[in-house]
């Protein structure tokens, strides 16, 4: 053999050996749903049926991922967001989850909505070792890494929010009598439990009046709460009913201290229909910036969000906090995926989701940070109390954390 050919052979052999032996530094690891060019994310939302209002969240997220893709994707990979409708029916949620995992082969399921619905798929997801990430419900049970290490919540849990109210009441209105109007399901009952746990018997709850989503109005229930002699009302109702309650309370000429749950404190979707004057003095908590609150008019984060909505989701409702919620959750996922780098196995994604340190997202309240750990599956814990002054929410007090585990 000629000299140069011999050298080339040796060089080639060395190169091959080098590649074969090189450490896994630049090695990419994938589970089903991830490859060099895309990451498949599954999602299940109620786009039809009684809870279709929440479908706005999924649509916002789809728009956000379109933006991310337009700007180059995550670590060079495009996000393929596959979102299915479950009509707010748990058996359908199960079907769609199986479809996403077994047929579409997504890397993880993100922001599936509804407590019963997530309960329905929790065991399956954990058995299949597929992340059930940032579930879109505030039920307290999702913060349970001991038993369900593949399931993680996202928003502050209902119980922790209720405990914040309890703390506030004990400090400022310890002699009061509390009446609770609550939706008769997991969401309502979770808040009720959180409040009672937080009060620990130190204050009287004189009325617990449930309503069903099949009730046309809650007028009758509000009358009953008033009749119990309560001078504080804890309004655990979804937007439509919360607005009705606010209106009815004023119509009855009643003037209790009014605590409104976070799910229904949107200025545009609840307080406006209820009437701004009627809602004066209502207290609530917040963890994100309400887009209809004039406080944020000149805030750069708000402007950025607003520009995103105008460009990528012009049909979206800019007065609804659901769009901000969806935006923030999507940003959280993108942060996790970025942090996972080229190791896009389900295990690593879960690990990264459980290692978020002081993540700052600018549509969260100033000072609020996302933190998770191996025993802490509650990304957002911090909330701040606010009072409605007839025009806007006024934040007051410190950022509080009503830490409660599942």
């Amino acid at each position: 053999m000629r000299n140069d050919q011999h050298w080339m052979t040796v060089a080639l052999a060395l190169a091959i050996a080098a590649v074969a032996v090189s450490p896994a530094v630049a090695q990419k690891k994938y589970d089903p749903g991830a490859n060099d060019s895309e990451i498949k994310i599954g999602n299940i939302m109620p786009y039809s049926g009684p809870a279709s209002a929440y479908g706005e969240i999924g649509k916002t997220q789809a728009a956000y991922f379109r933006k991310v893709n337009a700007e180059g994707g995550v670590n060079g990979r495009k996000i393929n967001f596959i979102s299915y409708d479950d009509g707010y029916s748990p058996p359908k949620t199960v079907e769609q989850a199986r479809k996403l995992v077994e047929s579409d082969e997504v890397l993880l399921i993100f922001q599936s909505l509804g407590t019963a619905h997530n309960t329905a798929i929790q065991r399956y997801m954990n058995a299949k070792k597929v992340p059930q990430l940032f579930v879109a419900t505030g039920a307290t049970k999702w913060n349970d890494p001991q038993h369900f290490s593949w399931t993680m919540g996202w928003q502050p849990s209902y119980q922790s929010e209720a405990r914040i109210y309890a703390e506030y009441l004990l400090k400022n209105h310890a002699q009061g009598k509390i009446g609770v109007l609550y939706q008769n399901d997991d969401y309502g009952k979770d808040y009720l439990k959180g409040l009672k746990d937080g009060l620990n018997g130190k204050m009287r709850v004189v009325a617990e009046v449930p309503y069903e989503t099949t009730d046309p109005t809650v007028d009758s229930q509000v009358i009953n709460v008033k009749a119990s002699g309560a001078d504080i009302i804890f309004n655990v109702a979804t937007p439509k009913f919360a607005a009705q309650a606010i209106k009815k309370i004023v119509e009855l000429g009643w003037n209790p201290l009014h605590l409104l749950n976070n799910v229904s404190n949107s200025v545009g979707s609840v307080l406006k229909p209820a009437g701004f004057d009627n809602a004066k003095g209502v207290l609530s908590t917040a963890y994100l910036k309400d887009p209809t609150d004039p406080t944020w008019k000149d805030d750069p984060a708000y402007k950025k969000w607003s520009a995103f909505m105008d460009k990528y989701y012009p049909d979206g409702d800019k007065t609804s906090t659901f769009t901000v919620y969806g935006y923030l959750a999507a940003q959280t996922l993108v942060a996790v995926l970025k942090q996972s780098g080229d190791n896009l196995t389900r295990e690593n994604v879960m690990k990264q989701a459980a290692s978020l340190k002081n993540l700052e997202l600018d549509m969260l309240l100033p000072g609020s940070r996302i933190n998770t750990g191996p025993n802490d599956f509650a990304p957002i814990k911090q909330m701040q109390m606010e009072r409605f002054n007839g025009e806007r929410w006024e934040l007051f007090g410190p950022l509080m954390s009503g830490d409660v585990g599942g």
């Binding site: 409708d85 009509g87 058996p91 019963a116």
Partner: protein, 338 residues
Amino acid sequence: MKQPLKSDLMQAPAGTVAGLSIKTWSRAAVIAGVFLALLLPLAIKDFLVFQLTLALIYAVAILGLNLLTGFNGQFSLGHSAFYGIGAYTAAILMDQADVAYYWTLPAAGAACFIVGFLFGLPALRLEGLYLALATFALAIAMPQLLKSTPLEPWTGGVQGIVILKPDAPFGLPLNSDQWLYYFTILTAALMYAGAVNLARSRTGRAIMAIRDNPIAASAMGVDVALYKSLTFGVSALYTGVAGALGAIAVQFVAPDSFTFNLAIALFVGLVIGGVGSIPGTLLGGLFILFVPNIAEEVSKGLAQAVYGVILIAVIYLMPSGAAGFIRLIVGRIARSWT
């Protein structure tokens, strides 16, 4: 609310095609279908097996509704309630009493038979629309009852009950999805055989006679009250067994799973498949499981609207349901052959 149903919807149309009678063709079709059904799970993804299992379960539920509405002329918008009772019976027995899954089926059936019969008794006095409302009331009431505090220790309230799917017995090389599919086929086969038997029996004829002309039937000595209530019971039994199977397949029961929407879906399945047709229920089951998914593929935002349009198109094309339509086509082919 009576309809001009042909009580010979059960028989194959007369005539021959390519030298063989239609009856032979339909038998061959059934055998081929059974073969396909038995071999399918080995060739397709688990998820599709799961979906087909659900479709079959819905078909059995629709069969129950068919017995009441198609065969006995009693209009029910409340079968979601019986499905729910069956499902919860199975779930509670499996979760709290460690009962094996196969015993929950007869238990669910028995429980629903009793409830159905008891409901059927006062419902005797109601006709058509009023009966529809009473059953409608039952369907609406069911989720409320399931959520209610007094029953919470058993039902788990709004949180529902999580149960586990059984594994294949005797160490058969099947995964749990496949095993459940075969188990469902076995159960369905028994239920269908029962229904066919019932339809051909004297009792069946009495039931259908009541549908076609209750006054004449009673004049002929048929105990209308007894038969109507019994039919309610049997109908509930069928749907209840389907509910139990459904609970096992989905591995979860919650009050939100058994709302009025389910009753509507069963009703739609009944009509699309063909009121009064036993094989039609299979088509009905497949329809209500798969067509909403197809509608969603067409348009995410308007999925329900697309579904509605499909429903209208199907009714226009096949006003008496798929079974009637197929009979029509087969009859035409036979006639054009001779």
